[in-house]
Symmetry: C2
Subunit: 247 residues, 2 copies
DNA sequence: TCAAAAGTGTTCGCTCTACACCCATGT
DNA sequence: ACATGGGTGTAGAGCGAACACTTTTGA
């Protein structure tokens, strides 16, 4: 009797599944892409990785890195795939930012896109330049992109400005070893302000998340600064909320 | 000659469009829904508006308010439509929170969903209870929902906790006229802490965004408090960043 | 008169801010 | 020797945190 019940239960479950599947098949559907805003930092400037638009309609214009989501992968996986394909890196900071669902954002018909933001050390990877050009562009110099990618970029930039004041993300953009000057330059570039050097250094000293690696800068035309690395382990362990770096 | 050039240009543009359309038609596509987490506040508790799951597979379980995005509407419009249909309100605080793209989140096949969070005054609307039950549930009491809606709810709750400390959103959850006690209860409910009454009042007094309406609470079994309303106009004008209410 | 919440100020400690001089290195 | 950025400390202001008593109303 128990068996019968179980079987009946299983059968009905199967039936429910079948019904659900039949229902979903009636749904309107839309292509979904993932677009990655990939930030880097070099020559004291915030950089963005762009590719030539592959759609002829936008010929000559630059574009974010984006691809269609594949049927078997979830959103994060799609974003990692795009990063991996283009930069060869897979241990990269990545976060979903916002979804853009305007009807006319793609000239060929409706395509929904989920925007991700990624931060990486610009020297730590090899760009995979295949058929399309892939280049780092100074964020400040970007005025126009294909699709609605400029809007997506601006959203991600605002997100980054806010985020970097609440979490120590900046280190993802720097080499393993960096000077405090480089770190400050990074913050100044992203926040688009000048910061007081002594207060900045005090701030980071008080966080106690920088490890003095006992080395110095080289090849600088002035007194070399100490090099530090970020204590990722310690940061993971401490659950200290970073709400407000408060420059 | 100019005309010819223009015509050629137009023609080629049309062709580009046609090509783009042909391309998009080859894309895999996915049904997209919008799910709304609708928060209210009543009886000193944070509430969430839920409906009985309409999918038989989840029979008996509660569900967020969600519907498929229609072909002609963008995401925000879909979210407003859902709100309007169910609550009759259209001047409501609403914000996109996160997109969920897990492969198995719908038993009938892949359905992507964009989660929105809405805040409304629980007394200001008439629920449209049609075929499904529509009820306010205490947030704290919700342990299970259909689909991945519990996960979505939790994300939206975290979002709300953070957001309410950076922007004066709370007023959307209160009646037009409210006492400082009600306001504090609201913050305490959302942040799940106790706050110091004097500091709380000082904080809001110093923001200078509350208008004393010259009335008092009635029907309270103790000394009645003054009633205030929130100065939405003044807030809109002042661009003061609210980063950090810092309780 | 009692219960329950309203209303109100002050002190302390911490953190942010502003600010200037000497040091080490390369040219 | 000079130019360039590295490295450091302190005083003042402002803000958040802690904390207790009197007042008003309804029961």
């Amino acid at each position: 009797m128990k068996k019968t019940n179980t079987n009946q239960h299983l059968k009905s479950k199967e039936e429910l599944l079948k019904n659900a599947q039949a229902l979903v098949e009636t749904y309107d559907s839309v292509p979904v892409s993932v677009d990655c805003v990939i930030f880097g930092f070099d020559e004291n400037e915030l950089k963005v990785l762009l590719i030539r638009a592959d759609l002829e309609y936008f010929k000559g214009m630059w574009s974010l890195l984006g691809e269609l989501m594949l049927p078997h992968e979830n959103l994060d996986e799609a974003a990692y795939r795009i990063l991996k394909e283009r930069t060869g890196m897979d241990d990269v900071y990545l976060d979903q930012v916002k979804t853009f669902g305007g009807i006319h954002r793609h000239p060929g018909g409706r395509v929904l896109t989920v925007a991700y933001c990624s931060l990486l050390n610009i020297n730590h990877h090899q760009l995979k330049i295949t058929d399309h050009e892939l280049h780092w562009h100074s964020f400040q110099s970007i005025t126009e992109l294909s699709f609605d990618h400029k809007e997506i970029l601006d959203e991600c930039y605002k997100w980054l400005q806010k985020r970097i004041q609440e979490h120590p993300l900046g280190f993802n953009l720097l080499p393993d070893k960096f000077s405090l000057r480089e770190l400050q330059n990074l913050y100044e570039a992203i926040l688009n302000t000048k910061l007081d050097r002594r207060n900045f250094r005090k701030k980071f000293a008080s966080m106690d998340l920088l490890i003095d690696v006992g080395e110095m800068e080289a090849d600088v035309p002035h007194r070399p600064g100490k090099l530090y690395k970020f204590d990722f382990d310690k940061y993971e362990k401490s659950n200290r909320k970073w709400i407000g770096i408060d420059f």
